[in-house]
Subunit: 362 residues, 2 copies
């Protein structure tokens, strides 16, 4: 799942611009609807830029193979199932969540322009990639964005023995007057599955509380954990948040529940992404509908300033998302590090699709 | 703050009906607006019934003293500051959050009836008590309810040395077809301040990760913790959720931020609640606007059933809020246990206000 995190591989540097060019050309060649290409590029390249490599361009071959093998729809006709006032329900037509989620957030922002708030629920979608990409759609329009998704069953409830819940991904973005938006992008699992996979590769134990094995017992053996289930962060609180997430992003849009989705992608040798029927929920808030924008901006900056000054031992406290936006600035300037393994996959993809490969001489 | 949790005190049993009667009569005698009395009774007695004693009738004397001493407004005129489409901003007129929050949720539910979703932001309010009371207003109307509040600065950011944030309280309620609603009612602190106070009384250490002392260093001494700051649950994830909570319930409604609010109530000998200028955010979702209600209900029950069956070692996994609704059933049937100390306070209150005391012969 996450070769990118492998510590023993060599990295080469490419430019963000060429990575965007390649992702766009490969997507077009694979039949992605032209209007959707910018969203796919945004979702994948921005993830890589922000250092969220597990949701970055490394995923492109898996997605495109999913299109080719018919598991995923490269050119979905996203349709409105229901609509009332400030809410809309969309059918994602088995498209990729990376794209469908951003379309949903655009609609939520349209509704918020009219009604102060807009909510769009999505059914019949798939992997949503880095959630920050979806909420940043709202932030770029000056709005607060919130995005929830469900996913296949990966996580046990706290005190539980087997996977019933998704990992409860959720994100928020809050635009700031003269800075990058505050972005909270997290899952409700104690740790990402990619970290457990890395520990397995490196022969390290994992901390207690991350997972149960396939016997349902808590384990510190990453191999047992990979055939078992993740555990929620923060015990019953993380569990509770995930249950609400499943209801809002699964039951409310009428999507599949986690147990109804395929987990074939979890296999070590999986090379494609099959159809999930996942659900999402996108929310946008028009800040100006609630009060003076300047006053909101001042309060947000006062909060960020007070946080920054509250560190222990000279430790700087950053608002959520700032570490990632700093990585982004670095990678935009100094280049984007990709592992030889990911570059191999992208080279192979370039050959298959007949498009110029990523330029590694950057 | 939480004598109710003191383990060495004697308890007596009273009936829920008489507790309601007394709370209503005392509130009327203290000048609470007649239309607000049912909300105050609901907030306090339901908290006691659900076992959330720290937000239960134990608080009544503090609230009523706050009214008498002019810190809180017993009969606030809650007014609309702004309104657009599916959102409204209310000024709580320095009323008690226990009441103002429920009024806000009624308005959010009204908006959701029209628009599928409704959001109400509140400024100029105070302590919101048990958050479940607010979200249950929506659930009783068949809707999903969500409620956030801010509060005075009690909590440091993760890695931080001093209190900048509130404890980030949040709640959700999801109505079910033939069962009590799912209710998630939590704060984003690793532990409630009342638990630390109890540890201090009993001379016990507290776990690492609950708090920092007033020197800004992590501590396991509850006395140092009480003069220091709480820490978020789940490290940077709980921290991130709290930052978003402060923005949504503080900056968005134009309320005070945590650092701008008085923390006088934290003193061990505090007997009243002073004015906070707190903010809330209430959200209601009309489930039927998103799809067939029967289908939603089936999915929620399927989720709950799968959770229930996933326990380890015969451990039953309950949906959020079920432990509290079981306590409620017990207390409705067998009576409500109140400590002698709380009963003393209520007896004194009865005498001051000239209303019949709670009947302890039940």
């Amino acid at each position: 799942m996450n070769r990118e995190l492998d510590s023993e591989v060599a990295f080469r540097s490419v430019t963000a611009a060429d990575l965007r060019r390649f992702t766009a050309e490969a997507s077009v060649a694979a039949g992605v609807a032209p209007a959707h290409v910018p969203y796919l590029v945004e979702g994948l390249v921005e993830a890589t830029l922000r250092g969220i490599d597990a949701h970055g361009v490394y995923r492109l071959p898996h997605y495109l193979r999913g299109f080719r093998e018919g598991f995923l729809n490269a050119a979905p006709r996203v349709t409105t199932v229901r609509s009332k006032g400030a809410i809309t329900v969309l059918d994602g037509d088995n498209g990729l969540g990376v794209v469908v989620g951003q379309l949903a957030m655009e609609r939520a922002a349209d509704l918020a322009s009219e009604c102060g708030i807009g909510m769009v629920a999505v059914r019949n979608s798939n992997h949503s990639g880095m959630l920050a990409a979806h909420v940043l759609v709202a932030a770029r329009r000056g709005m607060i964005g919130h995005f929830l998704s469900n996913a296949p069953a990966l996580m046990a409830p706290s005190g539980g023995s087997r996977a019933i819940l998704s990992n409860g991904p959720l994100a928020w973005a809050v635009p700031r007057a003269s800075h990058e938006p505050i972005v909270l992008d997290m899952a409700c699992s104690a740790a990402a599955r990619s970290k457990i996979r890395l520990a397995a590769r490196e022969g390290r134990r994992i901390p207690k509380g991350w997972a149960v094995g396939d016997d349902g017992e808590p384990t510190t053996d990453p191999r047992l954990a990979l055939s078992g289930a993740l555990l929620p962060f923060g015990g019953h609180k993380g569990y509770g948040l995930t249950v609400i997430n499943e209801i809002l992003s699964g039951a409310l849009p009428g999507a599949r529940l986690p147990l109804e989705m395929s987990t074939a992608f979890l296999a070590e040798d999986a090379t494609t992404l099959d159809s999930w029927g996942a659900g999402h929920l996108a929310l946008a808030l028009e800040i100006e509908a609630f009060g003076e924008r300047a006053s909101f901006d001042r309060q947000v900056e006062a909060l960020v300033d007070s946080l920054r000054s509250a560190g222990r031992d000279g430790n700087e406290i950053l608002p959520p998302g700032e570490p990632e936006s700093r990585t982004r600035v670095t990678r935009l300037g100094a280049g984007v590090p990709l592992s030889e393994r990911v570059l191999d996959d992208l080279r192979q993809l370039a050959e298959e699709l007949g498009v110029p490969p990523v330029d590694e001489a950057a």
